[in-house]
Subunit: 297 residues, 2 copies
């Protein structure tokens, strides 16, 4: 069983890409020919599945992974849960690594239930077709370890929120304790837990989420977590830029993944006359090319 960190490291080398497409399906932004046939959850879920399939088939060559945003599927209740499970399987069939962005964390048996649902083998859940999940660190190790334990025997991984990309992220995350910001304590937790998911490549499968909108702290985060895989959301619609992300990478442009969601999947909105699939492919390729050009190999 190949470790998660090694699967990622191999994919980045093979595709010469560290781009992750974020799947945030919002029917209000769908192109007309991908619109749902009705407003009922079942019709919307079917549209989500067709939209996801169309986008992923278009971008699969340029990206290494897809990050599905659980919230948008939860808006559709049971129909959304079924569509999410099917779209995760479809993404895996396209050779993509699948990340479920659910940002859960809880305690004891509850955290175990989330970890089983999201990384385990339970029928009907996202678990069987999910390679990695995002996790919130506010509850400490108890809230994270159950995910590590589900991930380890399956070659799967997780990404713990360390420094989020939103404007109010600093309210708690930047508080100084002993002269160091809180996010460095979260980073220390990530590094420690990483020892449970080692890869042969030197990276670990307990990754860190670090917002591309705060490039100034990426060097500090990399120093604090030298073996950690970074997931960098916030490029595109949120204003983060690929060229500012170099400090997050290890030599050989390894060790970090760049996520762009709305700027790829809704690229048709800025490209009149281009089909939505071609627009998404073009934007994903452009990001991949920026990654190749602006980050030292």
């Amino acid at each position: 069983m190949q470790a998660f960190a090694d699967r990622i490291d191999d994919a980045v080398r093979r595709k010469e890409s560290a781009i992750v497409v974020g799947m945030d399906p919002n029917p209000a932004l769908f192109p007309p020919d991908a619109a749902a046939g009705g407003a009922e959850p079942e019709a919307l879920a079917e549209a989500f599945e067709r939209f996801s399939a169309g986008i992923l088939e278009a971008v699969a060559e340029a990206v290494i992974a897809v990050k599905f945003q659980s919230a948008f599927y939860e808006r559709l209740g049971a129909a959304g849960a079924a569509a999410l499970a099917r779209s995760l399987r479809h993404a895996q069939r396209l050779g993509l690594v699948t990340i479920l962005d659910a940002k859960r964390a809880d305690i004891g048996s509850t955290a175990e239930a989330y970890a089983e649902a999201q990384l385990g083998d339970l029928p009907g859940t996202p678990g069987p077709a999910t390679d990695a999940v995002t996790v919130n660190p506010y509850l400490g190790e108890d809230g994270i370890l159950p995910f590590v334990r589900q991930a380890a025997p399956r070659g799967k991984g997780l990404f713990v929120l360390v420094k989020t990309s939103n404007p109010s992220g600093p309210q708690l995350q930047d508080l100084l304790s002993g002269g160091r910001p809180l996010y460095l304590y979260a980073a220390a937790l990530v590094r420690k837990l990483g020892a449970e998911l080692p890869g042969a490549c030197g990276l670990t499968g307990v990754g860190a989420v670090a917002g591309a909108t705060y490039p100034g702290v990426l060097r500090e985060l990399r120093d604090a977590m030298p073996e950690t895989l970074f997931l960098l959301p916030g490029v595109g619609a949120q204003g983060g830029k690929v060229e500012d992300l170099a400090p997050a990478f290890l030599p050989g442009r390894r060790g970090a993944l760049i996520t762009a969601s709305r700027s790829i999947i809704y690229a048709h909105r800025d490209r009149p006359g281009m089909s939505w699939k071609d627009a998404a492919r073009s934007e994903a390729q452009a990001l991949r090319d920026l990654f190749r050009q602006r980050l030292d190999a």
Copy 2:
């Protein structure tokens, strides 16, 4: 539209109870006559619904609210999502306040999607039959405000994690910044946002989760959040005791709710010869009576 804080305050007075039953359905702990007719998600979901109905009908007189633990339903995928929505509706028909323990938090449009799914009017989601949700504060105000905005026009509320009941909660939550622990900064955020959901009774609808397993800090939390509704999990299976919770309450034993999950719903395991419904009723009544006796009126 009655404010959430006022609905809770009225229910506590009327029932002379501040007990919340936690619904953590785990098929391995079900009594034989509530067992599922198979291992498929659909059979388990049906068993969850019957178990929830049996427990809630038995305890409805002694408790004011039920807290459904989302994780256990998510283990069943789409079938679990449908069962959760139905059990929430059934709980409301029994006159109980419904709390969805989902501990979500995200940014921007994603946080809005969670808030809509959990407190809004979307068909097929938990939203229409959920009165309050739990929220994680790690992302700051951005991660919480969308829930406040969905709650306000509907007389609903939320409970933000401040000091969790688990052993590793202190790893981040107790870090000192400027001489004050992190959880007091979360408390300040809760108090500030509370101004958006004022009740006529003087309490607000932005509540705080404070673990009953750390009774030593309840006085400090109450001083920091004088108008906040507290949700106190950790009584029973986790070791918290009703008699230690007095500092969390306001005069007239107002302003705080005591949650017990496994100790109520699986009470039959410690009461051989008693039916599971009678055992749950008996345990809920015992906790309610402890609340009446040990906390000053």
